[in-house]
């Protein structure tokens, strides 16, 4: 691809006008992002493959440290210098996996944009809201100042900020957390990106504001026919709002399926465990939660075999030595990495064997109290 320079030959958006409209928007192939540290190579993302079509939404779910944020930053090209990158990332058919920041600058804003978790630290505290929105418009789209200001105003109105005209002249500290996140969304949408990353967009917010922000993201995504990657640790957040979900654990996708199928026919024990650990409103109070014991493995030295084996109630000797591949043996499109999947005879037998032995192959104590299978030592 020829190097593109700002403000030559029209705006950045024009340069993508020859992009094919069919086929997937984003193709991620065996992406590995490893960080060089004093302790060794941290395998934050370790072989992730997925693709995303135009106008579709994918949810990426996992615990802290599973690599979900690093994955979206790898695609955006927002990585520090101590990184080793492998694999391919195709955006509209163009390879951007190894692109330099200069090249990526043409993608940011007009092609892909990101909404970050913490709206206070991602906004510039000494810059007026209006200028923060017009900045990217002026940079990427080569428009007049007046046009940029009008657009900023209509953007603020479209993200549901009351008294938008006054807000344009305010600073971030004058806005509440929810309002700041709306401003972040307005900035991300300013140049009409085809792909929006929302990295834990509501984790710092109250439940009522969380619902408002998620509604807003979904509404904008539909109206603009934009693809969206929604990154979160809460399966509840992605349940009604995504077409597909990829569950990540220790740098890998362990289960990937259309949203309905993932919830209706959960196959991977980690996905099952994540679902069970959410407190449900329809449970009586003081219902004991089924927590996942322990912590994710050290990504400098990931264990051989299945990376979830040490915390899994189904673990068998095979899980400690062989790593299961990501395959969809049953339903097409519903892929998972497990030898003893949930809802299969093999899985049921494995669990029964572990319950009879009182521990799993990795030595994790497991027993049944009532209908609940508990792992770890109970007090």
């Amino acid at each position: 691809m020829t190097p593109l320079r700002r403000r030559r030959g029209g705006s950045a958006a024009d340069r993508f006008s020859d992009a094919p409209l069919d086929g997937s928007l984003l193709d991620v192939g065996d992406v590995k992002t490893h960080f060089k540290t004093e302790r060794g190579l941290v395998r934050a993302v370790d072989g992730v493959t997925f693709s995303l079509e135009r106008g579709k939404t994918i949810g990426i779910v996992g615990e802290s440290g599973c690599g979900k944020s690093v994955l979206s930053r790898s695609i955006m090209g927002l990585l520090p210098s101590n990184v080793v990158r492998h694999g391919s990332i195709h955006f509209e058919g163009r390879e951007i996996g190894k692109a330099y920041t200069d090249t990526m600058r043409d993608y940011w804003g007009t092609q892909m944009a990101m909404v970050f978790q913490d709206p206070m630290t991602s906004l510039n505290p000494v810059m007026r809201i209006g200028n923060q929105i017009t900045e990217s418009l002026r940079y990427h789209l080569d428009v007049t100042k007046e046009y940029a200001e009008e657009t900023a105003l209509s953007l603020l109105q479209s993200v549901g900020i009351p008294e938008a005209e006054r807000r344009l002249r305010q600073y971030p500290f004058e806005l509440s957390g929810g309002m700041r996140q709306r401003v972040m969304i307005a900035i991300a949408l300013a140049c009409g990106p085809k792909l929006l990353f929302a990295d834990e967009p509501t984790t710092a917010l109250d439940v009522t504001v969380q619902a408002q922000i998620l509604d807003l993201l979904q509404q904008q995504q539909r109206e603009r026919f934009m693809a969206m990657v929604l990154v979160t640790h809460d399966l509840g957040v992605v349940a009604g709002r995504t077409d597909e979900i990829a569950v990540m654990y220790a740098g890998r996708i362990v289960e990937k399926a259309p949203t309905r199928s993932l919830f209706a026919h959960t196959r991977h024990p980690y996905t099952e465990a994540l679902l069970k650990s959410i407190p449900k409103l329809n449970q009586r109070s003081h219902t004991r939660l089924e927590a996942i014991v322990g912590r994710p493995p050290d990504l400098v030295k990931p264990p051989p075999g299945c990376r979830f084996a040490a915390r899994c109630p189904y673990a068998q000797p095979k899980c400690l030595t062989d790593e299961p591949p990501l395959e969809d043996p049953g339903e097409p499109g519903h892929a998972f990495r497990c030898f003893y999947p949930v809802g299969s005879d093999a899985g049921a037998d494995a669990l029964a064997r572990n319950l009879a032995a009182g521990e799993t192959a990795s030595g994790l104590p497991v027993k049944k109290i009532g209908e609940i299978v508990t792992t770890g030592i109970t007090v």
Binding site: L214, D234, G240, L274
Partner: protein, 345 residues
């Protein structure tokens, strides 16, 4: 409710804490205006009970927790703990009482001193009060670390940065329980944690409560979490109480429109529930510097009428064990209109 009243207070011998007409106000800069953080809140906690305080940011739930500890002292109202009014205590007496009443904070990492070892952090309360010999203190620290699921032999010499957020919260719990308190005020103890770790900490709190005979005040904004741990829930809004009931009753038949709003905002891990079909409340919590007249929730309430602006609702019992401060409480099964039905602020 967003109102006042004391109809929900219980007359019982085993009441551990009774808070009446608590008012906390702060000056708003040099403007001469005042931030009405908590306005006439009353509740009581029985021994062995878990009381949930729930509401959005800015509803005064954390301020209430701190005012019970007298940090800072409330502007007015009484906080009777084990038969003594905390607001009348001073100096050593107050500090001595505080060993019986502990707090766990939201951010587990910043609430631990990064330069101290875990064993010193946990032992500090014992040190200050010279409880037992050095060896006894050491044994007590080890017991606490084991109880919260940490390995004393391996981890007692480590510093907070060597632990994950969930483990730091375990250390905070050990530090709170070590002085043998009666009451622990948990201020959003799981909001900063992942769902999987959240479940571990909630289970741990339940275990510690049973093992050490604790009474808990559990402050959070997520009603699903509060429901899981509580025996009685107080829903707060902008410094006022809305509804007081058992969590199961609150969930089955919320009587205050705001409780309904909080329930509907919780994300459901079920793709067949379309979030668009659920009622939403418009806008955000108004400024506590100039709270709305009458019922403070009226500016966002889809059921608000003229009377709500003029008269503040009082707490009254709508069903046995369910108290609500609202002029138009919801009937069992009643839902709010879908979409942003509320008037803009």
């Amino acid at each position: 409710m967003a109102g006042t009243g004391t109809a929900h207070l219980r007359d019982a011998d085993d009441t551990l804490l009774r808070v009446e007409d608590l008012v906390v106000e702060f000056p708003a800069g040099r403007s001469g205006l005042r931030v009405h953080a908590v306005s006439n809140i009353s509740f009581d906690v029985k021994e062995g009970e878990t009381l949930g305080l729930v509401g959005e940011s800015g509803c005064g739930k954390s301020t209430t927790g701190k005012a019970i500890m007298q940090l800072p002292r409330p502007n007015s109202g009484s906080v009777v703990f084990e038969g003594t009014d905390m607001t009348t205590l001073d100096g050593a007496e107050l500090r001595r009482t505080r060993t019986r009443m502990k707090m766990i904070f939201q951010d587990p990492i910043s609430s631990l001193n990064p330069r101290r070892k875990v064993e010193d952090i946990i032992a500090e309360g014992l040190n200050i009060w010279d409880t037992g010999t050095k060896a006894e203190q050491q044994a007590k620290v080890d017991e606490m670390m084991l109880a919260v699921g940490l390995d004393p032999a391996l981890q007692r010499g480590r510093r907070p940065h060597q632990f994950s957020g969930g483990q730091c919260q375990r250390i905070s719990i050990a530090r709170a329980v070590v002085t043998d308190p009666k009451l622990i005020i948990c201020d959003e103890p799981v909001s900063a944690l992942d769902v999987s770790v959240q479940a571990q900490i909630l289970n741990l709190l339940e275990d510690m409560k049973a093992r050490y005979g604790l009474t808990l005040i559990f402050i959070a904004h997520d009603l699903a979490v509060v429901k899981n741990v509580s025996d009685r829930v107080v829903v707060m809004y902008l410094g006022k109480m809305c509804e007081v009931a058992s969590p199961d009753l609150l969930y089955e038949q919320p009587a205050h429109p705001y409780t309904r709003v909080l329930l509907d905002a919780i994300p459901v891990p079920d793709p067949s529930v379309r979030p668009d079909d659920r009622p939403r409340v418009a806008g955000e919590i108004p400024s506590p510097v100039a709270p709305p007249s009458g019922c403070r929730f009226r500016t966002r309430c889809p059921k608000a009428q003229d009377v709500c602006a003029n008269t503040e609702p009082e707490v009254s019992e709508v069903h046995p064990g369910q108290f609500v401060a609202c002029h138009f409480p919801l009937a069992p099964g009643e839902t709010l209109p879908v979409g942003n039905g509320a008037r803009p602020i």
